[in-house]
Amino acid sequence: MNKKIKRPAADILLICAALALALIIYLSGAKKEAGVNVEVRLGGKIYAVLSLDEDAELDIDGKCTLKIEGGAAKIVKSDCPNGLCAAHRPISRSGEAIVCLPNGVSVKITGGGADFVI
């Protein structure tokens, strides 16, 4: 008799536990944005996403060469006529970008921090 009276209380406790667990699962999904990446786009489409922590050199469709070194990204070579992209200083902070308009290439630091840098 006694046990039967306690059942609803136990159910409520379980439902609460389920909701709490749901909240934890939901919130953990939001924490995935860590890690700083270099997003490379060609003609607006994502061409490559590299880690800023890893030194790398990327040939972008034969048009520009991207170099990641010591936690900064820079366009080291470009076949465009004005060369503004290769003259751009290295970028390392979230939201910063280097663009080569003639080639339709953009290189942007993403993940954490600013959404855009203007």
């Binding site: 389920a18 939901y26 939201g95 953009s106 959404d115 840098v117 203007i118």
Partner: protein
């Protein structure tokens, strides 16, 4: 044990039902001679693609109207400058009307009739040379804003030598129109950056949008947090070319006819992107006191960075930092 399984299953179902909007982004490089970035939080990739299609389509339509080098069939600024007659799009009429208004509000610092001077600078930039001073002065004689006539929904230029250039206002105006269309199309949270003209709507799941303001010498000078406001920066480091080791940037002072030299950059925060774009260009060419009075008239918040790296702010600007 059965209960435990039930609890776990329920937890997964609850978490799954509350679909968290995810961040999606698109970049367009063939509009307004600059880079456009569209970022939005959407419940699915399909939803984002739908919004991105609307965004690109509207910007492209407006780009063709305001692009003075356009080869499109659409009647726009290029046809107007070439002296052609045709059905004037409502947006061309409206922005010309606003431009005339901006000219009087800024004491001529913002002049959409400066096309003949700007096209000379444009041609010289392409060749990597400096314009001939006499040629500049002679072209400045064809920049009289009073010679633009608005009649019966049409724009007419009374001086055949003059031409309109919407470079200082078209990006902001188009971003504003596009954002309004996106909101009417059901977008709930987005940021649109048309070549440094940022317009935001709603918030991110984690809070306000964060816009970094570039320091003229590299790095980030400050970050502003906005949700619904527009942020625009005009800076001498954004577009330039070099002749004999000297840099010449793209914002031409309407009085000296040479690149304005008062500030390294001017950042404006207001509720309207068209207004923010026009204001940032005008303020870039104005001394502090005049600029401050103009900003106050529009309730705009402003950050000025001077050539020696010193910053001045309107009182409310720091509320966003």
């Amino acid at each position: 044990m059965k209960r435990l399984i039930a609890v776990l299953a329920a937890a997964v179902i609850f978490a799954g039902c509350a679909a968290r909007p995810e961040r999606y982004g698109a970049v367009y490089t063939d509009l307004f001679d600059t880079v456009t970035e569209f970022t939005a939080y959407c419940s699915s990739r399909e939803e984002f693609d739908r919004l991105s299609g609307i965004c690109y389509g509207e910007l492209k339509r407006l780009h063709e109207i305001f692009d003075i080098y356009s080869e499109s069939e659409t009647y726009g600024a290029a046809s107007l400058n070439a002296g052609k007659e045709g059905d004037c799009p409502a947006e061309l009429y409206e922005l010309t009307e606003q431009g005339i208004n901006w000219h009087s509000l800024t004491g001529g610092r913002l002049n959409i009739a400066l096309g003949s001077v700007l096209s000379l600078w444009h041609d010289c930039r392409e060749k990597g040379i400096l314009p001939d001073p006499d040629e500049l002065r002679s072209r400045a004689g064809h920049c009289d804003i009073g010679k633009i006539k608005l009649e019966g929904g049409r724009v007419r230029l009374e001086d055949p030598e003059m031409s309109l250039d919407f470079g200082a206002v078209a990006k902001g105006y188009s971003a504003q129109k596009t954002a309004e269309l996106l909101i009417n199309s059901g977008a709930e949270s987005f940021a649109l950056n048309v070549g440094g003209n940022v317009i935001t709507y709603g918030e991110k799941p984690s809070g306000k949008w964060e816009i970094g303001i570039e320091s003229p010498d590299g790095g980030i000078f400050t970050t502003v947090k906005v949700a619904g406001e527009c942020v625009v920066t005009s800076g001498d480091y954004q577009r330039w070319y070099e002749v004999d080791g000297v840099r010449y940037h793209h914002i031409i002072d309407t009085e000296t006819l040479y690149p304005a030299a008062l500030w390294r950059s001017v950042t404006v925060i207001t509720d309207d992107s068209a207004e923010a774009d026009a204001l940032s260009t005008a303020l870039f060419c104005m001394p502090y006191d005049d600029g401050r009075a103009l900003a106050e008239k529009f309730g705009a918040e402003v950050l000025w960075i001077s050539p020696d790296g010193e910053a001045k702010r309107t009182e409310g600007f720091s509320d966003y930092e």
